[in-house]
Symmetry: C2
Subunit: 257 residues, 2 copies
C-alpha cells in the first residue's frame, strides 16, 4: 500500500498517534502541497503526478517525492498520487483535522486585517478571542467577536482552549504579550511584531516579517536592472551577466546549500 490512511483512530478522542519528526523544511512545504492539492481537487482531478504537483507547488519533483515519503506516501507508478487521500494525510500530519482555536492580540490595522482574514477559517483555524491593551479598543466588535482586555487573557485562554497566539502589537509590547501567552499555557506563537521574542523551551515561535519579501523582490529588480543596463555600461567589477534565468520564480532551490 503506497498511501496509508493516517492513524485510523480519529473516532477516539485523545488517542493521537505519535508523529514522525519531519525536517522543518518539509513541514514548511506541506501547506504548499496542501494548497496545490485542494486546487487539483477543485479542478476535478482524482490523481496528480509528482511532476504536476511539484510544479503547482513550485518545488522540484525529487524534493516533493522525498517530502511525501516521510508521510509514507509514495504514489503509484504511472498513476501518481490519490488527491483526496494525500489531502487527508497532510491535513492529519499538520493537525488540521481539528479546528485549532487562535487568540489574536493587538487589533490595530494589521490585527483587524488578520481577524477578518477568510483564509484562516477555511484552513483549519478559528479566531476564538481578540485582545488589546488599549481600553478604547476593548468592547469593539470585529467579525462577531468582542475585543477583550489583555488582562482577561489567562481566563479566556483556558475557557476557549487557545492553542495558538498571534501577536499583532507594536514591537515594544510584543515580549510582554508573549510572556502572558506562555503563562496562559499557549505553546505556539505567530509573531507579526518586528522584534525577536524570547520564550521558554517547548514553545514554538514563527515570525512573519513583511519587509523580507520585499527585499527578496528587490534583489530580482536589482538583477534585472544590472542585466538590462549592461549594453550601455559594459561589464563592471569583473562580473559578467549570466545568460537567461531572469525569472526567479522558476529557479530551483539549490540542493545542499
Amino acid at each position: 500500500m503506497s498511501q496509508q490512511r493516517p492513524g485510523g483512530q480519529s473516532g477516539q478522542p485523545g488517542a493521537v498517534p505519535a508523529l514522525p519528526d519531519l525536517p522543518e523544511a518539509t513541514v514548511a512545504r506541506l501547506p504548499e502541497y496542501l494548497r496545490a492539492l485542494h486546487n487539483q481537487a477543485e479542478a476535478g482531478h482524482d490523481t496528480v503526478s509528482s511532476e504536476g504537483l511539484a510544479s503547482a507547488a513550485g518545488v522540484n519533483s525529487a524534493k516533493l517525492r522525498k517530502d511525501l515519503s516521510h508521510l509514507g506516501s509514495y504514489g503509484t507508478r504511472g498513476v501518481g498520487y490519490d488527491v483526496a487521500l494525500l489531502i487527508e494525510q497532510i491535513e492529519y500530519v499538520l493537525g488540521l483535522t481539528q479546528r485549532r482555536a487562535v487568540a489574536l492580540v493587538g487589533v490595530g490595522n494589521l490585527g483587524h486585517a488578520l481577524a477578518g482574514y477568510a483564509g484562516f477559517a477555511t484552513r483549519g483555524f478559528r479566531i476564538a478571542a481578540l485582545f488589546d491593551a488599549d481600553p478604547s479598543r476593548v468592547g469593539e466588535r470585529i467579525n462577531g467577536l468582542v475585543v477583550r482586555h489583555i488582562e482577561d487573557l489567562t481566563e479566556i485562554a483556558a475557557a476557549e482552549s487557545i492553542a495558538i497566539g498571534v501577536i499583532a502589537t507594536p514591537a515594544g509590547a510584543a515580549q510582554s504579550v508573549a510572556d502572558q501567552l506562555v503563562a496562559a499555557g499557549v505553546t505556539s506563537i505567530l509573531n507579526f511584531a518586528p522584534c525577536v521574542l524570547s520564550v521558554p523551551e517547548g514553545v514554538d515561535v514563527r515570525k512573519v516579517d513583511l519587509a523580507i519579501e520585499l527585499q527578496i523582490l528587490s534583489f530580482h529588480e536589482h538583477r534585472k536592472a544590472s542585466l538590462t543596463s549592461l549594453p550601455a555600461t559594459g561589464p563592471a567589477g569583473g562580473l559578467t551577466a549570466l545568460p537567461g534565468g531572469l525569472s526567479a520564480t522558476g529557479t530551483e532551490e539549490a540542493v545542499g546549500t
Copy 2:
C-alpha cells in the same frame, strides 16, 4: 581580500554591475542575515563570527558561510566578518542602496496595515502610491498619501518610477490588478491575495499566505499533543516518540532534502 567592497560605482547613476545568479534559497536568507547584522551593529559589535551570525539568523554556520561566499565574503579566520562591510555588501546585492518605490493596490484593513508598516521605510522601500477600485476609498489620506483610483495606475507608475507592486485586494480582483501592474511596467509583485497569479516571463511574483505560517505551527502543536498523550494511549501505528527536539525553532533545516 576576503570582503570586497561592492562595485565602487555608486556615484555613477545607471552604472549597475551585473550581479551573480544566486541560488533562490540564498537570496531568501540574505534579508535574515541583514537583520541579524543590523542588530549586531546596534549592539556595538564591529565583527561577528560565522557561528554567532548563523545562530542569530537561525541557520547553521556552514550554510551561512556558503551563502556569503557567493557574495565574495569569506570573513577573517579568528576574527569573523566585518559587520559594517557585510551590511554594505548585502544591501548592495539586494539593491537596497536605492530606495525602491512601491505601489500598494487595495486599501482595506490589510492595505491600511501595510501602508502604515514602519518596517518598509526603514528597510529600503518607499510606499509611493496607493490605489483602490472603490470610488468611496479614492481620496482618502493614509500616512500622508492620497488613495488614487486604479485607473490612474499607468500614469502614476511612470511618474513615480514604481518598481514593485503590492496586491492587497480580494482574490477576485488580484489577477486583473496584476495585469494592470504589468501593463504599467511593474516587474515585481508581492501578492497578499489568496490566489495564484499568472504573469509573463520576466515578472517576479512572491506570494504571502498568512495561513501557511499557522499551518506550520499547527504541526508542532499536533506533534506536542501526540507526545504528551503517549503515556495514556501507548505507541500507535508503529511510530515511537522521539526523545527531545520538541522545540522546532532550534531544528536545523535538513540539508539536501
